[in-house]
Amino acid sequence: MTLIRHTLYMTLRHLRELWRQPWFVAVTLVQPVIWLLLFGALFKRVIEIPGFHGNSYIAFLAPGVVVMTAMFSSAWSGMALIEDINRGVTARFLVSPVRREALIAGRILKEAVVVVIQSLIIVALALIVGASFPGGVGGVAALFAISALLGATFGALSNGFGLIMRQEEALIGAVQFIVLPLTFLSATFLAADLIPKWMQHVADFNPVNWAVVAGRSAVSGNADWGMIAARAGFLVALLALSVAFATRAFQSYQRSV
């Protein structure tokens, strides 16, 4: 009970922080809008490529943008933790009886909440520009859940690396190094059959691709629930590993205080 309560206090603190930075919120939303509208227009004729299934590139792209945005925004999660450490805020929590797990869990949960809100906006926008999601509300909810899982995973990883690096510049470098290749080595922009063979093999091990493929299937109208469940299972396992990693990193930070 205490753990849940403490986690909620921390989650609310982080959400409030975000709410107070309207520019940050705006910028994180502008990016997916650009992806969706710009790439949607740019690659409009991709659907004419033989082997591409479906008749709207925006509808194809939207789940990918949802997943990508989930990763992009969560991957910065560790920045706020580094700032807290540098400001002495984390040390203040550590001399209080707050549950240690809540200090990490609160941040991960916040990322999951933010991902769901962003996803809602992106899907609404896609609907406005004419995409349709035959999978219905259930399918879209599954897409959100998968994106939230991925967001939580990247949130945990980002906090773990942040705790090890403890330098904002280093974390920025690491995030930029990781995020774009993971996006392009996936079926985010093109159907899997259309990307080079070696990339397909890499994509099989790419959590972003798991989320894109599963999420896209969920909203497609002929969802392959077995495949979706398997991918979601991988994501849950990866989330568990990432949380374990972040927890270990936090313990090593505590020892170094």
Partner: protein, 322 residues
């Protein structure tokens, strides 16, 4: 006597071979203000980290309110309030939100936490700024919020780690008044670390002088100064004299440690006030002309010099170049 803090033989080294604590021992009586005084790098902050459960000692034992800080850290955390070196407020939250969260993680909820926050905001002169983001607070306001946050759960023991470092003199004076007020509160024990001699002198009932990770002297400020036996007499002479000066004063009863250096004469006396007329008389008889004379109680700086063989300033300089 009940002890709020008992530290016994605390030792701690950091990876690069830096020994921060080397058998630090002291006790703080319940309800008293105790100062750890020493230059930067003496190990004071490491001691506070151990006592507040942030760090674990390599050796030794520490009890806070009779609870072992290593074996029972969570119970200790409920008992203590900590004001860290440098502000540790969440500058993206308002003063009230900072206080509320601190109260909540100490298990105060609902109406009680709101009331407690308001009470502290009023007491620390932050009521007008309560709902402003703390980023915009002045240094002094952030420091007051720090203290308020440490007091939310009414802790039995309060740790103040260098509470006035980096504050301008005016704010420091306010801070001292606030700490004195806290100390007067029923039953609260305060451990203060400082590298300001006058801060320890003003605020603490007992002082432990820390040097290179060890306590080198301990007592009330007056006891420590008294160990230097007597007052310092400082006489400025009209001009340089030869050996006759020292000879004239050296034989006086109750006057000792006479040092003549150019145009100044320094000596110690058990009772400075009584000794001055005798000294002046003796100098006059020897034909020595005096331009001014001062009597001073020994300062903690003198005490520090006696126990460490270094002046405080020299020790500070050494710590920063290390």
């Amino acid at each position: 006597m009940e002890m709020a803090i008992e530290a016994d033989g605390l030792a701690k080294s950091y990876p690069k071979g830096v020994t921060a604590l080397d058998g630090l021992s002291f006790e703080v009586a319940s309800g008293s203000v105790f100062a750890l005084l020493g230059p930067n790098g003496a190990g004071k902050s490491t001691a506070v980290k151990i006592l507040t459960t942030l760090a674990k000692p390599d050796a030794g034992k520490a009890l806070v309110e009779r609870l072992d800080v290593v074996a029972n850290p969570d119970a200790v955390r409920r008992m203590i309030g900590v004001v860290a070196q440098g502000s540790a407020v969440d500058i993206q939250a308002t003063g009230r939100e900072n206080l509320r969260l601190q109260g909540q993680i100490h298990g105060i909820r609902g109406k009680a936490v709101e009331e407690r926050a308001q009470e502290l905001l009023d007491r620390f002169g932050l009521a007008d700024a309560a709902d402003r983001i703390a980023r915009g607070y002045s240094g002094g306001m952030q420091r007051r919020l720090d203290i308020a946050m440490a007091l939310v759960h009414d802790p039995a023991v309060l740790f103040l780690d260098e509470p006035t470092t980096g504050l301008d003199p005016e704010v420091r004076a306010d801070m001292w008044a606030e700490i004195a007020r806290l100390a007067a509160e029923r039953g609260k024990s305060v451990l203060l670390t400082t590298h300001y001699l006058e801060e320890a002198d003003q605020l603490a009932e007992r002082i432990a002088i820390v040097d290179r990770g060890k306590v080198v002297a301990e007592g009330t400020p007056d006891e420590l100064k008294r160990e230097l036996r007597g007052d310092a007499i400082h006489v400025d002479l009209e001009r340089e004299y030869n050996g006759e000066v020292r000879g004239a004063v050296g034989g006086l009863v109750g006057v000792r440690d006479v040092v003549v250096d150019g145009r100044t004469l320094r000596a110690r006396a058990d009772d400075g006030g009584r000794a001055v007329p005798l000294v002046l008389q003796a100098l006059k008889s020897a034909g020595v002309e005096v331009s001014s004379v001062r009597v001073a109680r020994p300062s903690l700086d003198d005490v520090y010099l006696k126990y460490t063989g270094r002046t405080f300033d020299a020790a500070e300089a050494e710590a920063t170049t290390r």
